[in-house]
């Protein structure tokens, strides 16, 4: 019994020693390769999505890939299977170990990624955020799709118009910690509070979280519908829009829907009136802009301070401005309205 234990312990110890000794020998070659990988043309730009299967995120990657090919670097698409910040931290750590040149992340939580991203920046990797921001200390710059204030206010105004000023509003959001979701909901609540007379008969009844998961979004929508006061659902997430649309269509419900949806997914709901109109922007463009933004920072063209300008491929000149929560950002443009008049044209684009 004792002999066996001692032998096995010794062998394991010897094995681990040799492993570490072997590692020590390779450090020298590694340090030389670090300096060359950043400037070499086979640098890798990585995009970390909120959730690797989300169709909206995939469209963003389409644009990202396009810009990386134009620049001449290798794009990489990574993301967790379910929208949690823990898995994003693991992925960021793996990317740091792979020594990528830049990381672009759509965050599931504004603060949780800070330690991991700080380490990435210390290792010389450039960090930008897109779609859903991380806090100002974790990034060099944020790529913003459209003004969050405009988005929040327009959605509430649209909802009020659709129910002709009377009816309860329910919000079907994504995950509870997602930065962009919370920012938009904040502006929605501000709009409601600042105009009490206008929205007297359209109160906010409930906020439900579908976690950007089609199944959960469906069951949350069904739960919202059990409340007879709810007359319109705002879903500022493409996954939520699709799920809610189907539930409403199936039940032939009189409840209406608006929010941020992909025209390719929502065309049937706009055509049959379940969703009178909705907003979004071009996700391919966001990815495209992100690629060029990251490239400009890595090359040193801009430093991420206010007032910098750079050219973003076919999107033209872009300027860096102050971001609302601190730090700086680059703005893509305005939110775009999709309704029955233009949906046929847009559903093939994205």
């Amino acid at each position: 019994m004792n002999t066996k234990k001692i032998i096995s312990l010794c062998v394991s110890a010897v094995l681990s020693m040799s492993l570490l000794a072997g590692c020590g020998g390779t450090t020298n070659s590694d340090s030389t390769s670090t300096s060359t990988s950043a400037s070499a043309s086979n640098a890798t730009y990585a995009l970390v999505a909120k959730d690797v299967q989300n169709p909206y995120m995939k469209k963003i990657y389409e644009g990202f890939e396009k810009s990386c090919k134009e620049i001449g670097v290798t794009p990489l698409y990574k993301g967790p299977e379910s929208a949690t910040p823990e898995k994003q931290i693991e992925i960021i750590n793996q990317l740091v170990a792979q020594k990528v040149a830049g990381i672009a992340v759509a965050a599931n939580d504004a603060d949780a990624l800070q330690p991991a991203l700080k380490e990435a920046m210390n290792a010389g990797i450039s960090v930008v955020s897109l779609d859903s921001a991380v806090n100002a200390q974790s990034r060099q710059i944020h790529v913003q799709q459209a003004d969050p204030e405009k988005i929040g206010r327009s959605l509430i105004q649209a909802a009020c118009e659709m129910v002709h000023g009377e009816g309860g509003i329910a919000i079907l959001s994504a995950t509870a910690q997602a930065t962009n979701q919370n920012l938009w909901i904040e502006w929605m609540q501000k709009e409601l509070k600042e105009n009490p007379t206008k929205y007297a008969k359209t109160p906010l009844i409930k906020i439900a979280y579908g976690d950007d998961d089609p199944t959960k979004s469906t069951s949350e929508t069904q739960a919202l519908l059990t409340n007879p006061d709810v007359k319109i659902i705002i879903a500022p997430t493409t996954v939520g829009m699709l799920a809610a649309g189907k539930v409403l269509q199936d039940k032939k419900s009189s409840v209406l829907l608006t929010g941020l949806g992909l025209p390719s997914e929502m065309s049937s709901f706009i055509e049959d009136g379940t969703c009178p109109w909705m907003y979004l922007w071009n996700p391919v463009d966001i990815g495209y802009l992100t690629g060029y933004t990251m490239n400009s920072i890595i090359k040193g063209d801009i430093k991420g301070t206010k007032g910098d300008t750079f050219t973003a491929g076919t999107l033209g000149e872009k300027a860096v401005t102050d971001a609302a929560g601190g730090g700086t950002e680059v703005m893509l443009g305005e939110p775009f309205k999709f309704d029955s008049k233009n949906i046929a044209e847009w559903k093939a684009v994205y």
């Binding site: 199944t215 469906t218 699709l242 189907k246």
Partner: protein, 332 residues
């Protein structure tokens, strides 16, 4: 011998009666608190539809648990069958939906057989075998999906109607569940294989010694579970209109809870179809009732867990009581 059978029947009945009582009490409470929103035709219909899939799975899980085993992989089997079925549907929207269901059942059966072989031939403990298989099935699900969700735009309307359609005025899913229960009841009570499942669960050694082919019986139990899981999986993705790699993660725990509430002992050998039906109903009732009485979402999980815990503890106390009484009766 008579006493033993009587005691078992008695304890079965006590448990089921107490379950019925709990269901009735909760129903009345909810009806009262929600201002009459509970006993509406629409709500009861919603309740049954929501519980149907859980109930179908519980019948299969019951067979596995009776053999003193467990199957943690049913969530993954559901996802795999659903994903493969809908991926085929995506490419060929004109296919008869029944054909898709058949494919799903076949996939589920194969998965169940793999589980069964691991447990019976390779003699791996069920919890480990099904844990490993769960990882494998789920990984394969993601691979099949190629990282894409299958959403309702990809499914034909004839397929989606399966879950929302009605037969004889009752939702399809409820009818299917009832049929499965009747078949399950007949199978377990009146066929030889059904009785063999109980025998193997009670004592594997005695069963082997009496000439029952325990390996084959175990294989059959897990295969049936797999087939049911495949069937339930395709119904699940049909109902929600979405097949993802993440479908039904953690669902197996709900099913196990329904079985245990219904009186199936984890150590094997006991359990009745009626009890399992009541257990599934109770869980479905909790899910349906709590939003109606405006219990905050955040309290719902804790209350659900608490009710499961209290039910199981009460059951144990009642069981102890019954056995004490039987013991005292014998001593006199």
């Amino acid at each position: 011998m008579n006493n033993l059978i009587l005691k078992k029947m008695f304890s079965y009945n006590i448990r089921e009666i107490s379950l019925i009582l709990v269901i009735i009490v909760i129903s009345i409470f909810v009806q009262f608190r929600s201002g009459g929103n509970f006993f509406t035709a629409e709500n009861i219909s919603d309740l049954c539809t929501e519980t149907a899939i859980l109930a179908i799975l519980a019948v299969g899980m019951m067979m596995v648990i009776i053999t003193a085993g467990i199957d943690l992989s049913i969530g993954a089997i559901m996802a795999l069958a659903g994903m493969i079925g809908t991926t085929i549907l995506k490419g060929n929207k004109g296919i008869n939906p029944l054909f898709i269901i058949l494919i799903a059942i076949v996939i589920g059966t194969i998965c169940g057989m793999l589980n069964g072989i691991s447990v019976s031939k390779l003699k791996i403990l069920p919890i480990i075998a099904t844990l490993g298989m769960m990882n494998i099935f789920r990984g394969v699900t993601y691979l099949v999906s190629k990282g894409n969700w299958v959403l309702q735009n990809d499914m034909s309307s004839s397929f989606l109607d399966l879950a929302t359609g009605k037969a004889l005025g009752i939702n399809n899913l409820v009818v299917i569940a009832l049929v499965v229960y009747v078949i399950g009841y007949i199978f377990l009570k009146y066929t030889r294989t059904g009785r063999k499942i109980y025998a193997v669960g009670n004592s594997e050694e005695s069963a082997t010694v009496s000439g029952i082919k325990t390996e084959r019986t175990l294989l059959i139990a897990y295969t049936i579970m797999g087939a049911i899981a495949g069937f339930a999986g395709i119904l699940y993705v049909c109902k929600f209109g979405a097949a993802q790699g993440e479908t039904a993660v953690g669902y197996e725990m709900n099913v196990i809870a329904a079985c245990v509430l219904g009186g199936v002992s984890i150590n094997g050998g006991t359990g009745r179809v009626q009890g399992v039906l009541l257990g599934a109903l109770l869980l479905g009732l909790l899910n349906n009732a709590m939003p109606l009485i405006n219990i905050s979402v955040f309290w719902q999980e804790a209350i659900r867990g608490l009710i499961i815990l209290l039910s199981v503890m009460c059951n144990a106390l009642i069981q102890r009581n019954v056995e004490m009484k039987a013991l005292r009766r014998r001593n006199i």
